[in-house]
């Protein structure tokens, strides 16, 4: 099958997946105890008031009717309005997408070259001191949960030494890039291990493979063999891992957003679920589902380009 037809089929399937995700999310939020009216009433749960809030929010209508209306609206590109504030859901997505995209893009820009370089270095010096140091450091970083690393970095560099701002509270992320340093370190620390390990393993395999040996026999230069012949094959499995990481980053890493006060998609999701603000939760579900489908498709196509023989497109 040609990559183009493959992509078209995957996208069609993706549409079904997005709809399925949205339906499941709707059912799950319905299954949560309480609704938006109960959540909004909070510690003042006068049943008469809750009933009134329900009416003003339109929650007195059957859930299926509301869901159907929302899906129809979605088909027209209308994400609906927040139950609680009445602001369009698109505004929430727009507000949250900015910080999340900035963090995700910068994290990837740092992560991909760094992990490829580390992986290749380790593979070329397999078993040597460089390999050992790289392995120890990356595995060590991987074993620290994000929040723990974040807390330590904030306590040391933000609060004690005062080298970097401890949080991004109220800041304009691109206007004050210093606030991005600590969150980016935390975001890069863990995936760095998995990706560089994959590159290292792929590189070692590739260097030992028949076609590289053949290239050597043909007398091609070492550098060219390493980077033009071995590396692309080594990268194919890593691309899948980068895709998973991208997906994770675009979902708004909730812990990092909470600790560093970055008002991205993760924070909006937590707030919306706590408030049972169904249209906002649904809107986010669509964004996350679309992201996952697209990112994985791109990764598959990329892996196919890098190593056409090793990746089967079916």
């Amino acid at each position: 099958m040609s990559p183009r037809r493959y992509a078209a089929r995957r996208l069609a399937l993706g549409l079904v997946q997005v709809l399925a995700v949205v339906t499941v999310v709707f059912l799950l939020v319905q299954a949560l105890p309480g609704d938006a009216a109960v959540a909004l009433a909070g510690d003042n749960p006068d049943p008469r008031r809750i009933e009134q809030i329900r009416v003003t929010m339109g929650l007195d209508r059957p859930p299926l009717e509301r869901f159907g209306e929302w899906v129809l609206g979605l088909a027209r590109g209308d994400f609906g309005v927040s139950l609680i504030s009445g602001r369009p859901v698109v505004e929430f997505l727009h507000d949250g997408l900015g910080p999340t995209l900035v963090l995700a893009a910068l994290a990837l820009v740092l992560l991909v070259p760094l992990s490829v370089v580390l992986g290749v270095l380790a593979a070329l010096r397999e078993g040597g001191p460089v390999d050992r140091v790289v392995t120890t450091v990356t595995v060590g970083l991987h074993s620290i949960p994000e929040f723990a690393l974040a807390v330590v970095l904030i306590a040391v560099f933000g609060v004690q030494l005062r080298w970097l701002p401890p949080t991004a509270v109220g800041a304009d992320l691109l206007g004050q890039p210093a606030v991005l340093v600590l969150p980016l370190v935390v975001l890069v620390a863990r995936p760095l291990c998995s990706i560089s390990r994959l590159v290292r393993a792929g590189m070692i395999d590739a260097l030992a493979s028949d076609h590289v040996r053949h290239a050597r026999r043909l007398g091609i230069g070492v550098t060219r063999i390493r980077f033009a012949h071995a590396l692309p094959n080594a990268l194919a499995p890593a691309v899948q891992q980068v895709a998973r990481t991208t997906d994770w980053l675009l979902g708004g890493v909730i812990v990092v957003e909470a600790v560093f006060v970055v008002p991205g998609l993760g924070t909006i999701l937590v707030d919306a679920v706590a408030g049972r603000d169904l249209p906002v939760v649904q809107g986010l579900a669509v964004v996350f589902a679309v992201t996952t489908v697209v990112v994985n498709l791109v990764a598959d196509l990329l892996a196919f380009r890098l190593a056409p023989r090793s990746v089967a497109i079916a």
Partner: protein, 511 residues
């Protein structure tokens, strides 16, 4: 949903920050914040609600919204440090002899657009809150007003008709969210109020910027600018303060306060008697329909231990009555203490030996789960077993209003009269203990129609005596409200949260 547990995380941060600070050692000179100084921008960090955040003061629900509303708008009255109503936009109030018509004289105040605050604006604001098709928070408080028969006497005089004799009418004027907006306002994207600060900009879930209102009727604020920023995690608020990113961090935990009290980078401000911590027993169902068993529960609570462990010492013991330190609080009733022997006897007498009671709790308010766990431990050995059940935090208050027989409870400050009206009358909307007694309702009616304050106070005391003896609230403590500020911030009040002086930034300055 959250891969880290909040408490574990907070503990870790507090510990680490503390370690970092003690390691630091070199003392910086603290600038004195004793003399007011004009100018500067104060950044205040609050927890927010993202989607929920609105600038419509009638929709205010969260602390950050209450603080912002207070900066932008005024109410006719507000609660003083003793949680009694004091005049604000209303210069004075006078009831007629029947206590059903109240004449309010307005102060000479102007909205930020230059228009005077008129009687018409007051009536329109209240009409908006009372709109039958809406569900504003202040609605139930204002429901007592007969709006159709209320009128504007002149530009600065309103005459309210009240549905029944009600001497505590000023409490209504001070109700949460009962702010005065210019007549006809429906669009709050660029809010116009009469408060000490004017609106500049708003980014939902992130920040609100306000600037000084030089024409404020009570005198212009010291600050030039006030910025509210949102940081949901308590640790983030504390870190932002320590890192110099904000000058005011609202709502810190006792642990944070304890770690930083000795340091010189954060000044801790405590507002005592801000939040009552309690357990609520339901009187309309077994097992707490039995008075002896309720008394046994009162006697099982080791209050000093609860305050020490749950509130980390940042609070005071309670005596099963709401409103310690507030106007009309019955401080002459002797303090209850733990008496295990008597409790055992009462449990046997009630035939409840070997009984297991579920205690519903959740993380809906700070300290509730901890208090439930500590209390369950204190009950051990009494013949009764308390089993702690942690429920969903988002629907907790609504769930525990209906279900179960024993639940954690917490409440912010409000006048004792309001507490009774909302929670302890037969027709109260949030009567979680299901305390419903005609003679108690009659006492309430008597109190709110007694003009003489001393005699009224006596009626309130009588009501509190019966609540203390056989009510359903085991109110074991009053938590301090804890705010952190940069050492150069002056003018922060220690009035209970929810009162006028709490989070009141027009009186605050940067030294």
């Amino acid at each position: 949903m959250h891969p880290l547990t909040r408490r574990g995380f907070l503990g870790l941060t507090a510990g680490l920050s503390f370690a970092a600070l003690t390691g630091c050692g070199t003392a910086e000179p603290t600038s004195a914040a004793s003399t007011p100084r004009a100018g500067g921008r104060l950044r205040a960090a609050f927890a927010g609600g993202g989607a929920k955040e609105v600038l419509d003061p009638h929709l205010a629900n969260l602390f950050v919204e209450a603080a912002r509303s207070k900066a932008l708008y005024d109410k006719l009255a507000d609660l003083g440090p003793d949680v009694a109503a004091q005049p604000r936009l209303a210069e004075k109030w006078e009831p007629d002899a029947t206590l059903t018509r109240w004449r309010i004289t307005l102060r000479r105040a102007v909205f930020h657009n230059g228009q005077p605050v008129r009687a018409e604006d007051v009536l329109a604001s209240y009409a908006r809150i009372l709109d039958p098709n809406r569900a504003f928070r202040a609605k139930s408080s204002l429901a007592l007003i007969d709006l159709a028969n209320s009128r504007a006497v002149d530009e600065r005089t309103v005459e309210f008709a009240v549905k029944r004799p009600f001497v505590e009418f000023p409490n209504v004027l001070a109700a949460f969210g009962a702010y005065i907006v210019p007549a006809g306002t429906e669009d709050f994207t660029s809010p116009v109020g009469s408060g000490p600060f004017r609106f500049v900009s708003f980014e939902p879930g992130k920040s609100v910027l306000l600037k000084r209102n030089a024409e404020y009727w009570e005198g212009a604020p010291h600050l030039d600018e006030l910025e509210f920023v949102i940081a949901n995690e308590e640790s983030a608020r504390a870190n932002a303060l320590l890192g110099g990113q904000v000058e005011y961090a609202h709502d810190l935990t006792p642990t944070t306060a304890r770690s930083h009290a000795a340091g010189d980078r954060m000044a801790i401000h405590r507002a005592p008697n801000s939040a009552v911590q309690a357990f609520a027993m339901k009187l309309d169902r077994p097992p707490f329909d039995n008075r002896d068993l309720r008394e046994a529960m009162f006697l099982l609570a080791d209050r000093p231990q609860l305050v020490e462990s749950v509130l980390a010492g940042s609070g005071q013991v309670g005596n099963d009555l709401f409103g310690k330190g507030y106007q009309h609080y019955a401080d002459d009733i002797p303090q209850r203490t733990r008496d295990l022997d008597k409790a055992k006897f009462l449990i046997r007498k009630a035939g409840a030996e070997g009984l297991t009671v579920k205690l519903d709790t959740s993380t809906a308010a700070a300290g509730m789960v901890e208090a439930a766990t500590v209390f369950a431990d204190q009950v051990k050995g009494s013949g009764l077993t308390v089993e702690v059940v942690t429920g969903n935090k988002d629907s907790y208050w609504s769930d525990t209003l209906k279900n179960g027989s024993l639940s954690s409870f917490r409440s912010g400050a409000m006048p004792i009269e309001t507490h009774i009206a909302q929670r302890l009358l037969s027709g109260s909307g949030t009567n979680v203990t299901k305390w419903a007694r005609p003679e108690f309702d009659a006492l309430y009616d008597q109190a709110v129609s007694t003009v003489d304050e001393t005699r009224r106070g006596e009626v309130y005391r009588e009501m509190q005596r019966s609540l203390h003896a056989e009510g359903g609230y085991l109110m074991w403590g009053f938590a301090d409200w804890i705010v952190g500020a940069a050492p150069n911030v002056g003018g922060i009040s220690t009035a209970p949260a929810n009162t006028l002086d709490w989070a009141r930034f027009d009186k605050v300055w940067l030294g």
